[in-house]
Every structure is written in structure tokens, then in C-alpha cells.
């Protein structure tokens, strides 16, 4: 079927200030979306529909059932399929004029520079701090603007970092959040939940910034952090400033950085590896405190005491530390709540408090 390009894009081409010139800029643009989840999918759909000529999509994950409430690009019968493959196929149907390159693996310091160097602008649609710092550093090295997005329960953040083109403010993620280790206690969606529609809004805001950047229209979220609060239906904007103490890393340092490690480095409490944990458990040296919420699975037979994390946070001043002559070790599903709980426990006792690094996920995967 022959189609008229002008007809497909007619409703945006007739916009005052847009026209065929802006459409041509979109057609020539190259955009990389890292993360094909709840932020990446809506961004990809709108940029494909708008006619961005070349897009790269990076993600090594497969579709999972618990993704679908916030990633409606994927259907129930696609659970188990590679996200980038499903997304690419659907986008080719949506707009065959767009060229999409899939990267069906996770981005890491050894492949990031090569992939991202092919593109004009990068969208951070990732769901974890290590990759957010990695993308910041890679984009800083390559001097590529980075459209940042992130969500937490009912709220989302958007900004454009590292924009030193066109008189940009060149604020980096590290200017705002300079210490990767300090992020260790912040929970992910997996742990704290997210309203499904929220990342849809944030991802489309990211796509909007990309279109503005490419076409040169409007005022970018450059040097401004926008936070959307869905429960209040409010946008809150903060003017960002450069941080003289923020770290800038070079290519060699970048390729040798273990981003997972730098985001988990800070702790006053003691982490136990799965091996250490199993050994001490076998030697009956541990008093295991489970801080998962009641009813969280799987059940494990080595728990001595259960106190949900939500209760620890609420009743911190009246927290009862179990009396035992064994070593208290706190566990949860992923090792984030247990780390926080261990910090709180540790502030109330002279006894050394341990926690299981990586949580039960690591325990059962070892």
C-alpha cells in the first residue's frame, strides 16, 4: 500500500511552528531508548508514530506477567518473549517508515559507548540505579543529551541531563545525586509497587522532550527536574545547579567500573553473602529475622522471628530488638528492606546486626 507521508503526519505538520521542516528533522534523527519497560514502551510508541527515522532499543529482558499492568504494549500471549523483539515487530506495523535496531541484551560498560555513539540522544528508561549512573557517565563521555525518567509508587521524575548542545545547562545526574552508594536503600518498583498508568505519563513526557530537542521547538526541561505527583495531580519543578564535587569519569575508568557494586557500597551494618549466611545457619549461629510483609512468598523454614518492614518504619521508636545470644541476621526478598532494617536495628543496639545480601532471591539462585 502506497501511502502519502504527508497524510500520515498531516496533523502535526499543520501545527504552527512545526511544518515539513520539523518532520524532516524527526525523519533524520537517531534516538536510543535504553530499557523497554514501562517508560521505554510509551516513549517508543509515540516516537515511532511521530516519525523519528532511526531508533535503537536496548533490553535483555523477556515479557513477564507482572509487567503487563504498566506495559500494555505487550500482550498476555507474549509472556516469555524478548521485549525488544515484540516491540520492534509491533512498531514496524505501526510505522513501516521507521528503522528500528534491536539490542537484545543489557547495556554494560563494555558495550555502552559503542551502542550509544550511534545516536543523537538517549532516553534513560531503565529501572535501576546502576544503569542510571552508567548511562549518565556514558552520555557524559560521548557528550550526548540524556532524557532521564524514573518512577516511585505514585510519582515520577523527568529531566534532560548532559545537554551541552545548543547552549544547554549541562547538568548531569551526578550533579543532582552525586553518591551512587547512597541509593542502596531506595526501593525499586518490584519492592514498593507502582501505579500502572504513571510510567506511561512519564515515558510520554520523555518522548515529548526528545521531539522538542530534535525539532528545536519550545523550552526543554534542561536544568529543571520535573516531578509529577499523580495522587495530587500536581507537577513540581526544581531548578537544578551544577555540583562542583560531582565525579567525572574518563573512558578507562568507565569501562572498569562495576556499577552494581558502587550502588551497593554504603552500609554501616554487616552484609552476609549467601555462602556466609548458609554456613552460619548450618552452625546455628544465626537468629533470622524476616522483614517481608505477612504472606510474602516463599515460606522459608529458617526464620526465627518475623516483623514486617512497614511496622519497623512506623514503630521505629518503640522497636523491640529480639533478645538472643545468636547473631541477628535480617532477611527480605531482595536485600534492600533488610539493609534498611539492619541500619535501624543497628542504631538501637550494640550487638552486631547482619543482613543477607541480595535477599532470598540470591539465596535461592545460588
Amino acid at each position: 500500500m502506497l501511502e502519502s507521508i504527508n497524510e500520515r503526519y498531516s496533523r502535526q505538520i499543520i501545527l504552527p511552528g512545526f511544518g515539513e521542516a520539523a518532520q524532516q528533522k524527526l525523519r533524520q534523527a537517531k534516538v536510543c531508548i535504553v530499557g523497554m519497560g514501562a517508560l521505554g514502551c510509551p516513549a517508543l510508541q509515540y516516537l515511532t508514530a511521530a516519525g523519528v527515522g532511526n531508533m535503537g532499543i536496548v533490553d535483555g529482558d523477556v515479557v513477564q506477567l507482572h509487567n503487563l499492568h504498566r506495559q500494555p504494549l505487550f500482550f498476555s500471549n507474549e509472556v516469555g518473549a524478548l521485549k525488544v523483539m515484540v516491540a520492534k515487530q509491533k512498531m514496524q506495523q505501526l510505522n513501516p517508515l521507521v528503522n528500528i535496531t534491536d539490542y537484545p541484551f543489557h547495556i554494560h560498560p563494555k558495550n555502552a559507548l559503542q551502542i550509544l555513539s550511534e545516536y543523537d540522544i538517549v532516553i534513560d528508561a531503565t529501572d535501576n540505579f546502576p544503569t542510571k549512573y552508567l548511562l549518565n557517565d556514558a552520555c557524559a563521555i560521548l557528550q550526548k543529551p540524556l532524557v532521564y525518567g524514573a518512577v516511585s509508587q505514585y510519582e515520577g521524575q523527568v529531566s534532560i541531563f548532559n545537554n551541552n548542545l545548543k547552549g544547554g545547562k549541562n547538568i548531569q545526574y551526578r550533579d543532582v545525586f552525586p553518591d551512587p552508594a547512597a541509593t542502596a536503600n531506595i526501593q525499586s518498583c518490584e519492592q514498593s509497587g507502582v501505579l500502572g498508568v504513571l510510567p506511561g505519563i512519564i515515558g510520554t513526557l520523555q518522548a515529548t522532550e526528545v521531539i522538542k530537542f530534535i525539532t528545536g521547538m519550545g523550552k526543554l526541561l534542561d536544568g529543571r527536574l520535573l516531578t509529577y505527583r499523580s495522587l495530587e495531580t500536581q507537577f513540581y519543578e526544581i531548578e537544578l545547579t551544577k555540583n562542583a564535587n560531582a565525579v567525572n569519569i574518563n573512558v578507562d575508568e568507565f569501562q572498569q567500573t562495576d556499577y552494581q557494586h558502587i550502588c551497593n557500597a554504603a552500609s554501616t551494618e554487616e552484609s552476609l553473602s549467601v555462602d556466609q549466611f548458609k554456613q552460619m545457619l548450618q552452625q546455628q549461629l544465626l537468629f533470622v529475622v524476616d522483614v517481608r510483609e505477612m504472606g510474602e512468598l516463599p515460606h522459608v523454614n529458617f526464620v526465627d522471628h518475623q516483623i514486617p518492614y512497614s511496622q519497623i518504619i512506623q514503630a521505629e521508636n518503640n522497636l523491640h530488638i529480639p533478645v538472643t545470644n545468636k547473631n541477628i541476621c535480617i532477611i527480605c526478598q531482595q536485600g534492600v528492606r533488610s539493609r534498611n532494617a539492619a541500619t535501624i536495628f543497628q542504631s538501637k543496639t550494640l550487638q552486631k546486626i547482619f543482613h543477607l545480601q541480595g535477599g532470598l532471591n540470591a539465596y535461592f539462585n545460588s
Binding site: G35, G37, A38, L39, G40, D124, A125, T126, D127, N128, F129, K132, G149, A150, V151, S152, Q153, E155, G156, Q157, V176, F177, D179, A182, T183, N185, I186, Q187, S188, C189, S192, V194, P199, L225, T227, R229, Y236, E237, I238, E239, L240, T241, N243, I313, E316, N317, N340, T343, I344, S347
Partner: protein, 74 residues
Amino acid sequence: MQVLVFGSLTDIVAPLPNDIICDNTEQLIGLLEAKYPAIKTTTYFIAVNGKMIRENTPLQPTDTVALMPPFSGG
């Protein structure tokens, strides 16, 4: 003054304080840490009247102070 908290801090700083009076941001954080000790387990930056600050900043009763942690989800 009005205190706004976001992201992971909304669970920690609850209910939101509405009667805090203090001279500067350091004093404010001290008061909040005393009332909500779990604040110390997380990270955030501070903005006064919509502008990010890095140093102790004087506060007026009409000011709005936001405590903004990073979000990780996507």
C-alpha cells in the same frame, strides 16, 4: 513553613509536619531527623522555593522546602 517530601520519603515523613518553625535548612533537617529517624537511612537533595540548594540556607515562615530523593523505577 511548608515541607514537601517525595518518593521514598513519603512513607518515612508521615504524617507531614505542619507546625515546623526554624531558622535554616540545617535546623529543619535536624528536627525532621529527630521526629522521623528513618530519614537518615535514605538520600535526597533539598530545594528551597523550587531551587536546589547545597549549603545551609536561611528560611522564612513563608518558604517551601522540598526533600527530593532519587527514584529508581521504570
